[in-house]
């Protein structure tokens, strides 16, 4: 079973609650995220993407990001991470291992 999320162009404070809800609803399935339309990514949506990555890794389900737009990739880089950092759920970030 595989589900998909098409990320909206603007992932800001206003978009965050909807984004979180869409992840919560799809929990338990393989998930494919289409990031081709993203023009702007803010920190609050980033933390939802990170939490989703952790949740999917915990469930042992795959989480993929497809067609990341240039803006999406650049925003992630600006915020200190990368597209890979959102998908490699099994390899947790530095602080995460000790929690």
């Amino acid at each position: 079973m595989s589900d998909a999320i098409d990320l909206p162009p603007v992932l800001d404070l206003v978009a965050a609650p909807g984004l979180l809800e869409s992840f919560v609803q799809r929990r338990g399935d393989r998930l494919c995220i289409d990031a081709s339309r993203v023009q702007r990514l803010g920190a609050q949506c980033l933390q939802i993407l990170l939490a989703a990555r952790n949740a999917w890794a915990e469930d042992g389900n795959a989480l993929d990001i497809q067609n990341p737009s240039e803006d999406f990739t650049a925003s992630l880089e600006l915020l200190g991470t990368s597209v890979g950092g959102l998908t490699n759920g099994t390899q947790k970030a530095s602080g995460e291992t000790d929690r």
Binding site: A16, P17, L41, I48, L78, G80, G95
Partner: protein
Amino acid sequence: MEDPLAAIKVTFFQECEEQLAELESGLLAMESNVADSETVNAVFRAVHSMKGGAGIFAMDALVRFAHIFETSLDKVRSGVLSATPPVVAVFLRAADLLADLVRAAREDSAVDEARIAALGVEFERIDHLDGAPEAAHVVPASECSAGDGGGQSGGVSTWNIVFTPDQALYAKANETALLLRELHRLGEVEVELDESGLPELQDMDPEGAYLTWRVTLRGECGEEDIRDVFEFVQEDCHLEISKAEPYGFDPGTVITGDNGFKFEFFAPIVEEPEEEDRKAEVKSEANVQAAVERPDPAAPAAAGAPPPQSKTVQAIAAKTEAASSVGATIRVDLDRVDRMIDLVGELVINEAMLSQRVLEAGIARSSGVAMALEELENLTREIQDSVMAIRAQPVRSVFQRMPRLVREVAAMTGKQVRLVTEGEATEVDKTVIERIADPLTHMIRNAIDHGLESTDRRIAEGKPAEGTVRLTALHRSGRIVLEVSDDGGGINRPRVRQKAIERGLISPDAQLTDEEVDNLIFLPGFSTAEQLSDISGRGVGMDVVRQSIQALGGRISISSRPGKGSTFSLSLPLTLAVLDGMVVSVQGHTLIIPLGVIVETLKPRREDVFPLDGDLNVLKLRGGYVPIVDVALCLGYGAQHSDPAQSVALLVEGEGGARAVLLVDAIHGQKQVVIKSLEANYRAVRGIAAATVMGDGRVALILDVDAMVQNTATDARRDLAESRQLEASAGER
């Protein structure tokens, strides 16, 4: 989806306007050598705040130029560069460019890169002028200034920044990504994301704040530069900035010498900061640890203590305190104020109607009801005054636009001009302010272009090479008077007269007084310039200025002395919402005559009235003759007064000093009335300026005295039926 940044952006641009105004006035003070160190600081702060705000919105051109400007200002502030006239001149031009860049950012239009580059060169030049050791240069976006604190003294420093936003930071539409982008401007940046505070997906508050960023910044910048980036969010985040040890080796490095000696480098001993707050100490330690651990990203990061809950409360308390100490202000939509003014106007009318009803009911003046009503009347008047005061603004906002105009026009005409402004604090209704900007602009252009002589000619005539244009504002008898004067050659009356004859505006044998000749320049299509210049002659002349002033219920007059200069005076009502008027009656109709135009009231004597041809009579008054305007006849209420001695005469003065005597049946006293626009509610009617509602609920028309004075009887009759019809249709309220 509404962009939450949009609202903040609007506020940012509003603040820019204020800061640009502050910048301009500060620079002008510097120009006239009356600036103290606080003025220089204020100027610096204005540019600096604009830079900070623009950075948040990624307005690159604005940020870059503000940075160059700020660097030079900082040198003045620190005494490295002295504010000599050439330096201030560059600053003034930079302020103009900055204003244009703000406008470009607001309108999302293109910026003039050539102008930015040219001013960049100017900044370099002034640095050399002063023999400053280091020239300010046009810095690329990735560099930053030397000069701010931090002891970097031109060298590259490495800074460790730990940034943990609070939820409030995001709630106020700030964004970490934008702040990080700002840091990129300061130098080479490495960003490490610490997500150790991230909760489980299902436990997340989508509007919460769980992430921390550790940034290593290498660049020629100081701590102040970094703090500036966070200036607008400092109360809503936890921020640590520390300088990495620039010398030596990373801790743990071992160097083995040729002779087998080994040196091992330990982490530097960091002195405990002298902060009483224990939490701050904890964070500080965490920061040092983080800095030390950086070479090994796999090592567990020391989790910084979460920001204390009370921080927001403290920030709010601090803000409240700051607000109360610095004259608190709020921004209110103009529509809301206008709505309130309308309502207060209705309240005044209602109160008057109530008084009338009480009077009609035969209730004694000494009764409790009547006395309570009187109190209500006073209260209503106070409310009205207070609401009007909300709309009142100092004319400063208009005056501040003028120095730039003067500089530009002076440059275009090659004349040296000094603008002197007085009475900037004079207050007047906002609507009036908005509508005087264009006429004033035109008059100042005229004063420089036509009024002032060329520099050569001034010198030849023994005048100072620099011409002076004076712009003043003052309150006089319930009106605001604005004057634009120049010390030029005055109006060249023979030439004006000649032009008027050439254009068929007057007949060649017309006998005109000096004043009448001066007033010819207000005739439509009149232009004395030999060639239409770029500056004042665009087919829009003083006639348009006069029209717009008259539309505001104002008057314009000229006084000019050959060789000495001219003065244009504008007299305008302080507000367009209420009017002090004389209540008169004509053939049973109540009319209002604006008090401002009434010179005196008198009872004409039969022997002083002399008939001329047709309906026209003149009144002999103190040795002179003044035309009589019979209001009843003019408005078509009835036939001419058969016996002028049975009526009351009001001597009024129209535009340009033209006088006339208005004949009415009776005077009922003075009254402040709420102006109701005829144009908005009905349509423009000649001879009638506006309308108001009286206490008895009837509509009273407010006379357009200028039209009355100028009107010929025939013109007036054409509009008779109209005004009659208007009153009938308004009826009782």
